[in-house]
């Protein structure tokens, strides 16, 4: 269960402040797929960063499984990110000069997983994204879709509870993007992970259990497929 409670984020100092998030609240049940939709500058990336503990809210809090992420000390946040989170980025951020194996190994090295278990986890992760034959290939020799699959393998290798994907199909053609989305959905379902996708693609968003529409730092709509609720921010508060 992820709870975002009245989160505000203000950038800048007195005089020239910019309010990126103006009090956002919602709940996500375990295992749900969530789309955060909005135009660029709407605050959706900031929201994702705060959920992932990369950024601190100016006000409000984020609670993941009863742990208040926004109040954690640096070490605890590092631990949280290393064990409970998986990140997928728009521009992949795979290390081009390293092999697929080494790329996927990174979260396990950070999480201090033993070498033999590491091998086994990496193989299984690469298998699930269908890159088993590329174990020893350098990431720079992969196509865009393969790179994103590699990034996904890296995100799921430590079986995180929460996968945060920031425009995962933004740099891919629609066919490849479709495959990546299917993969993400399939994997999060298989692992029981919660999947949060930041996107501006309405079609993609429509396939998620929950859609959160962000506009000018505010949550304007929440659509929940399962409950059929289509509520405004005010409705959520009630």
């Amino acid at each position: 269960m992820i709870e975002v409670k009245n989160v505000r984020k203000v950038y800048g100092k007195k005089g020239s402040t910019f309010e990126a998030l103006k009090g956002v609240s919602f709940k996500i049940p375990d295992g749900a797929t969530v789309a955060i939709i909005g135009k660029s500058g709407s605050g959706k990336s900031t929201l994702m960063h705060i959920m992932g503990g990369l950024d601190h809210p100016s006000e409000g809090e984020v609670v993941v499984d009863g742990k208040v992420v926004s109040q954690m000390k640096r070490k605890q946040i590092d631990h949280f990110r290393a064990h409970d989170l998986g990140f997928v980025f728009q521009s992949f951020f795979v290390e081009a000069n390293q092999t697929c194996y080494q790329n996927v190994a990174l979260p396990l090295e950070i999480g201090e997983v033993g070498l033999s278990k590491r091998k086994q986890l990496i193989r299984s992760a690469l298998e699930r994204v269908e890159l088993s034959d590329k174990v020893r290939s350098k990431a720079r020799n992969l196509s865009g879709g393969q790179k994103q699959r590699l990034a996904i393998a890296r995100a799921i290798v430590n079986s995180p509870k929460l996968i945060l994907a920031d425009e995962p199909t933004g740099n891919l053609d629609s066919d490849t993007g479709e495959k990546i989305i299917k993969l993400l959905f399939g994997l999060s379902e298989a692992q029981g992970s919660t999947l949060v996708i930041v996107t501006h693609d309405a079609d993609l968003a429509a396939r998620c259990d929950i859609q959160l529409v962000v506009k000018d730092g505010q949550l304007v709509t929440i659509k929940d497929k399962k409950t059929g609720n289509a509520a405004t921010q005010k409705g959520v508060r009630a």
């Binding site: 992932g52 640096r74 946040i77 951020f93 979260p107 201090e112």
Partner: protein
């Protein structure tokens, strides 16, 4: 992240930037090279000094003079006249008389006192040969000259001499063995012009040892008695008669040379042991070594900033990678370690490179240097594994310190900002 993973990861990062790593390491290598060579040269010089002293001075012997002026630390200003003053090498020096020698012999633990006569023959020759100059030396078994023919005796009998191999062609000998048992004529001359010829039997031929000091390199070795006779003849009737500027006191083996020296000083004489001479030499070597080490350290300062610069650029280049690692939960400490250990690796590589180059240069240069300096089979550049290991560790420490600041910068990067960098 475990330290082993940090080690591998930083090693991999360096491998990916091979040229830059190698160039930065080269800067360290220059300092490493200089310091390795310096240490090797100083070690070699010390060993050479040791051998030199051992070959030329009996470790159990103490050189004694009337006062410090012989050792160059005494009074060179005008001093009150006394009968034991003699002008030697242009400065007045008090001489040891027979009664001084007797005094020294009476001291405890003294086995023998040898008077060091400083005499030159008017000429040295043999039947049918031209006349040549020659310095006459008191034979000293403990110095064991290197022999070309015959054997170095423990005691040279009166009437017997050893000659340097330089005389062989001059005196028309076919070879060393040809000279054995032949007769040598030594002519001596008084100040007054009166001359006398002494006849000796050649029992051995010495050859120039690589360790022999120049002044006893080529001459004629006489027994102590014969030296005394010739000295007595030359200086008869002068103030120098029966006097020597220095004597060698040999202990009985039951007393340390240093204790013997103290006794002699207490008795009112100036004294030096072989150790003293060695210490003076070592001091000179240390000063020279210090000067070169300073230059090596200056080059290290330059390479220090080179490493700082390289690591700063490396942090800038890898901002995105650092951001990703932080986003995935890498602690600040790990990021910082990653960059520090990279710097340590650079130091290791550079130091190793410098040391290997120095050793290579040493192997190439040693024969040439030994040849030029008459070192014989000994080498000037002596590389000691412990010294080199210590130096490598030192350079690794230096570069690690150089990596500190860039590492801090990396550790402090904001992951969001870092990931925004495309």
């Amino acid at each position: 992240m475990k330290i082993i993973d940090v080690l591998w990861r930083s090693g991999r990062n360096l491998k990916q930037a091979k040229v830059r790593t190698l160039l930065t390491a080269s800067a360290i290598a220059v300092g490493g090279f200089t310091l390795t060579i310096t240490l090797a040269a100083a070690t070699g010089a010390r060993q050479y000094a040791d051998r030199l002293v051992q070959a030329n001075a009996d470790p159990n012997a103490v050189v004694v003079a009337k006062d410090e002026s012989l050792f160059g630390t005494g009074n060179t200003k005008p001093q009150e006249y006394s009968d034991d003053l003699a002008n030697l090498y242009g400065s007045p020096m008090k001489q040891l008389s027979d009664s001084d020698i007797a005094n020294l012999k009476r001291l405890d633990h003294v086995q023998n006192v040898r008077q060091e006569y400083n005499i030159s023959a008017q000429y040295v020759t043999r039947d049918g040969a031209k006349k040549y100059t020659g310095s006459l030396l008191t034979y000293n078994a403990s110095q064991k000259p290197e022999m070309k023919a015959g054997t170095a005796p423990d005691n040279l009998a009166a009437g017997s001499v050893l000659i340097a191999d330089d005389y062989l062609p001059l005196l028309n000998f076919k070879d060393g063995n040809d000279a054995i048992d032949k007769t040598l004529l030594v002519q001596a001359q008084k100040m007054s012009g009166e001359t006398a010829t002494f006849t000796y039997k050649i029992v051995g031929v010495t050859t120039k040892s690589s360790l022999a000091l120049d002044f006893n390199a080529s001459g004629v070795y006489l027994s102590e008695n014969d030296a005394r006779t010739v000295h007595g003849f030359i200086n008869g009737g002068t103030v120098l008669a029966g006097k020597v500027s220095s004597a060698t006191v040999i202990g009985d083996g039951q007393i340390k040379p240093d204790d013997l020296k103290q006794e002699i000083i207490k008795a009112g004489y100036a004294a030096r042991t072989a150790d003293d001479i060695q210490q003076i030499l070592n001091q000179v070597i240390s000063v020279l070594q210090g000067i070169i080490v300073v230059f090596g350290l200056i080059t290290l300062i330059a390479s220090f900033f080179g490493v700082v610069n390289t690591q700063y650029i490396s942090v800038l280049e890898r901002t995105r990678e650092i951001g990703l690692m932080k986003a995935l939960g890498t602690s600040r400490r790990t990021i910082s370690r990653l960059f520090m250990i990279e710097a340590t690796w650079i130091g290791f590589l550079g130091a190793l490179l410098g040391a290997l180059l120095a050793m290579g240069a040493g192997m190439a240069l040693n024969p040439v240097i030994s040849d030029k300096l008459n070192f014989g089979s000994e080498h000037l550049l002596v590389f000691q594994p412990t010294q080199i290991a210590g130096l490598i560790a030192f350079l690794m420490l230096i570069t690690t310190i150089a990596g500190l600041l860039p590492a801090r910068k990396a550790a402090k990067l904001d992951p969001i900002e870092a990931l925004r960098t495309e």
